[in-house]
Amino acid sequence: MGCSIRASPFRSARPDPTQPFPRLPHRYSDTAKRPSGWMGIHRGHNARPLEWIAEKFIFTVSLSAIAMVFLIFLFVGREALPVFLGDTDSALVQTVIPSKDMEKIAPDRLARYLGMSVSELKTKDADTLRTMMEIREEAANEVPAAVRDDKDATANTTEWKYLLKPHQWTGYSKPEYIWQPVSAIHKYNLVPLVIGSLKTTLIGLAFAVPLSLAAAIYVSQLAPPSWKEWIKPGIEFLSGIPSVVLGAFAFLVLAGFLHDIFGYRYRLNAFVAGIALGLTAVPLIFSIAEDALTSVPRSYVQAALALGASKWQTAWQVVLPAAAPGVFAAIVLGFGRCIGETMVVLIASGNASVVSWDIFDSTRSLTATIAAEMAEAVNGGHHYRVLFMLGTMLFAVTFATNLLGDAVMHRLKKQR
C-alpha cells in the first residue's frame, strides 16, 4: 500500500543534520521555561492545578531548612538581646523603688525593674505588682551590710567592660578575669570560658588532624584497594558513638590511662577532654579529607609516577597539594565540631573556670558552661541571658566555619 515507512510522519520530524541540534531542556521537568499564564495555572490543555499546588507545597516545605536556621538565630539571639543592648542589670544592690510609688513611674521602667516585658506587665493586676515590689524591697533590705557596702555591689556586671576586661574585685590583689555567676556578686567574665573552649579545641585538633589526615592519605593513596572497603566504614563507625559515651569513656578509662603516662595533677583536665574531643572529630575530618584526596584526578598520580617520583613523593608533593582546599575544609569543619561539642567536655574537662594556657589544668568551655548552669539560672534573669549570649556566640562561630567549609567544598565540586 501507499503507507510506506518513507511516508511516515516521524521521518519528517527527524532533525536536519545541517541545522544546529535543537536545545533540549536539561531536565525532564515540564515546568522548565514553558510559557505559563497567571500563576502558572492557565496553560491551555496542560493546565494541572493539582500539580501546580503540589509543586508549590513541596517548594514551601523545602524552605523549612532555611527557616530553621533563621529561627535558631532569631530565638537564641532574642533571649540574649537584653545583654547585647545593655538592658539587663545584675547589680546586687539596686536602687529600690518604694511600692507606694508604683503609680508614679512609667510602665516600661516598672517592667524593667521587675524583670519582665511590658506585655507581661499588662497581664498582671495592680495587687500582684505591688506584692512583687514589696518582695524586691524586702530582698534588698536582707542583703548583709558587709556585702552592701562592697564597692562592687552596685556594679552592673553584664556591662561589656565586666564581660571582657579584667576587674579588680573586692578581696583580690590585682585585676582578674573571673566567671563566677552564683556568688553574691555575679561575675560574668567571658575570657576564662573562651580560653577553655579554644584550649580543648586546639588540643583536640592537634590530636585529630595529623591522625585523620595520615589515615586519609593511607586509605586513598597507599592502602591496597580491597582494604579500603573495610577501613573506611570502620573509621566512620566512630562517628556513631554518642558523645556522652565518649565522655564517659574519657572519664572512666582515658583519664586514668593518660594520668599513668603524664602524671598530671588534676585527673580531669583540658588534655583528657581534648583527646576525647579529637576522637569525635576524627571521623569527620577523615571522611572529608579522604573524599578530597580520592577525587584528585588519577592522571596526576600517573604523571608523577611516570616522571620517576616515588610513592611517597607523589602522595606528599602532588596529591596532597592538589587536595589542599578539601583538606582545609575538613580542618575548618573539624574546628566547628570541636568547639561546639558539649557532653565530652562537660564530663571530662573538670569544669574549673580558670585563666591558664597549661594543658594539664582543669578547664571550662562555653558549651559545658551553658549545659551545666542553665538549670540553675532563673528563666529571664541576667544569668539566663548571659548563657544565651554564649550560645549566640557559639552559633555565630560555627555558622562562620560552616559557611567557609561549605564554600570551599562547593568550589571544589564545581571544578571537577
Binding site: L252, G308, F388, G391, L394
Partner: protein
C-alpha cells in the same frame, strides 16, 4: 638514532632496584595512624563490652528504678529506655515528612544551578554543623518560652502545661537537629533511581506528581528508611539538645502524655558519671548503662550502613 640519555638524568631516580625507604616509611607511618584509629575504636568498644556485660541483667533492663539509682542492687534503666524510645519515635513522625519532601524538591523539582537550591543546600549544611547545645537553647527559647508560653496563654492554663520542658518539645528539637541527616540520605536514594524509570513513567502519560508518588518514592523507600534509622541512631545518643527541653533527673512513673517529662539513657550516663559520690560503686552501673545505649545506637547504625551500602551498589550497577 635516538639521542642517548644523559648519564645524570638516567641516574638513580629511574633505578627501580633501589629499595624505596622513604616510601616504605611513609606508608608505614600513615598505615600506623589508620590502624591506630581502628585500634582506639576497638579499645573503646572492647572496654565497654568487657566491663559492661557483667552489670547487664534482665532485672536491670526491665525494671523501673524505684529506689536509689546509684546502688548496684536497685539501679535499673527501663524508664530510660522507654523515655529515649518515645522521644525518638515522636521525632521520627515530624522529621521524616519534612526531610523527604525537601529531598524530593532538591532532586526532582529544583534546577541544579538555581539560587534557591544553593541557599537551601547551604542551610542544610549549616544546620548539620550547629552545636547540639545551641539546639537545646533554641528548644528552650523557641518551643518552651515562645510557643509553649503562648499556647498556655491562649488556652488559659492555670499552671504551665506547654510552657515547661516536655517530651514533645524535646522531640521537636531533635527533629530540627536531625533534618539534614534525613534529607541527605533521602536525596542519595532518589539520585540512585535511574532516570530512565522516570522518563518511562512520564512517556506513558503519568504526570510528574504521579511519577514521584508511584514510581520514585516507592523505589526510594529503602533509602528513606535508612535516613530514618540514621536519624534515630544519631538522636538516641544526643543529650545536649534535651537538657533544657524535656529530660528529667528522676521520675517515678513512665511518661504517659506528650506534656510529661521523661528519663533518658544518655542523660542518665551523664548523671552517673558526674553526680555520684562513690564512683567505685556506680562504675558498673555506668558501664552497663553506656553498653545499653551503645547497643541501641549501634544496632540501628549497622542496619543503616548495610542498607546504604546496598543502595550504593545498586546505584553503581544502574549507571
Amino acid at each position: 638514532m635516538s639521542t642517548p640519555i644523559p648519564a645524570a638524568a638516567a641516574g638513580r631516580r629511574f633505578d627501580r632496584k633501589r629499595p624505596d625507604i622513604a616510601s616504605g616509611l611513609f606508608t608505614g607511618l600513615t598505615g600506623l595512624a589508620t590502624f591506630g584509629i581502628l585500634a582506639i575504636l576497638a579499645a573503646i568498644l572492647g572496654n565497654i563490652l568487657y566491663h559492661g556485660l557483667p552489670g547487664l541483667s534482665w532485672r536491670f533492663v526491665s525494671t523501673i528504678p524505684r529506689k536509689d539509682m546509684f546502688e548496684p542492687e536497685s539501679a535499673a534503666v527501663l524508664s530510660m529506655i522507654v523515655g529515649t524510645s518515645i522521644r525518638v519515635m515522636i521525632m521520627t513522625i515530624f522529621v521524616i515528612p519534612i526531610g523527604v519532601i525537601t529531598a524530593v524538591y532538591l532532586t526532582e523539582y529544583a534546577a541544579s544551578g538555581s539560587i534557591y537550591t544553593r541557599i537551601i543546600r547551604v542551610a542544610i549544611a549549616n544546620l548539620a554543623g550547629v552545636p547540639s547545645i545551641v539546639f537545646g537553647l533554641f528548644g528552650l527559647g523557641f518551643f518552651i518560652n515562645f510557643i509553649g508560653k503562648n499556647l498556655d496563654q491562649l488556652t488559659h492554663q492555670s499552671g504551665p502545661l506547654f510552657g515547661k520542658p516536655t517530651v514533645l518539645w524535646a522531640s521537636l528539637t531533635l527533629a530540627v537537629m536531625t533534618m539534614p541527616v534525613v534529607i541527605v540520605a533521602t536525596e542519595e536514594a532518589l539520585k540512585a533511581i535511574p532516570p530512565g524509570l522516570r522518563e518511562a513513567s512520564l512517556a506513558l502519560g503519568a504526570t510528574k506528581l504521579e511519577t514521584i508518588l508511584k514510581i520514585v518514592l516507592p523505589n526510594a523507600l529503602p533509602g528513606i528508611l535508612t535516613g530514618a534509622i540514621l536519624a534515630i541512631s544519631r538522636a538516641a545518643g544526643e543529650v545536649a539538645p534535651i537538657l533544657f527541653t524535656g529530660v528529667a533527673y528522676y521520675m517515678a512513673d513512665l511518661p504517659s502524655k506528650l506534656t510529661d517529662q521523661f528519663m533518658d539513657l544518655g542523660y542518665h550516663a551523664f548523671v552517673l558519671s558526674t553526680q555520684s559520690d562513690n564512683i567505685e560503686k556506680t562504675r558498673p552501673i555506668l558501664y552497663a548503662t553506656v553498653l545499653v545505649l551503645l547497643m541501641l545506637t549501634f544496632s540501628l547504625n549497622a542496619i543503616g550502613i548495610i542498607v546504604r551500602a546496598r543502595i550504593r551498589k545498586a546505584m553503581r550497577a544502574g549507571h
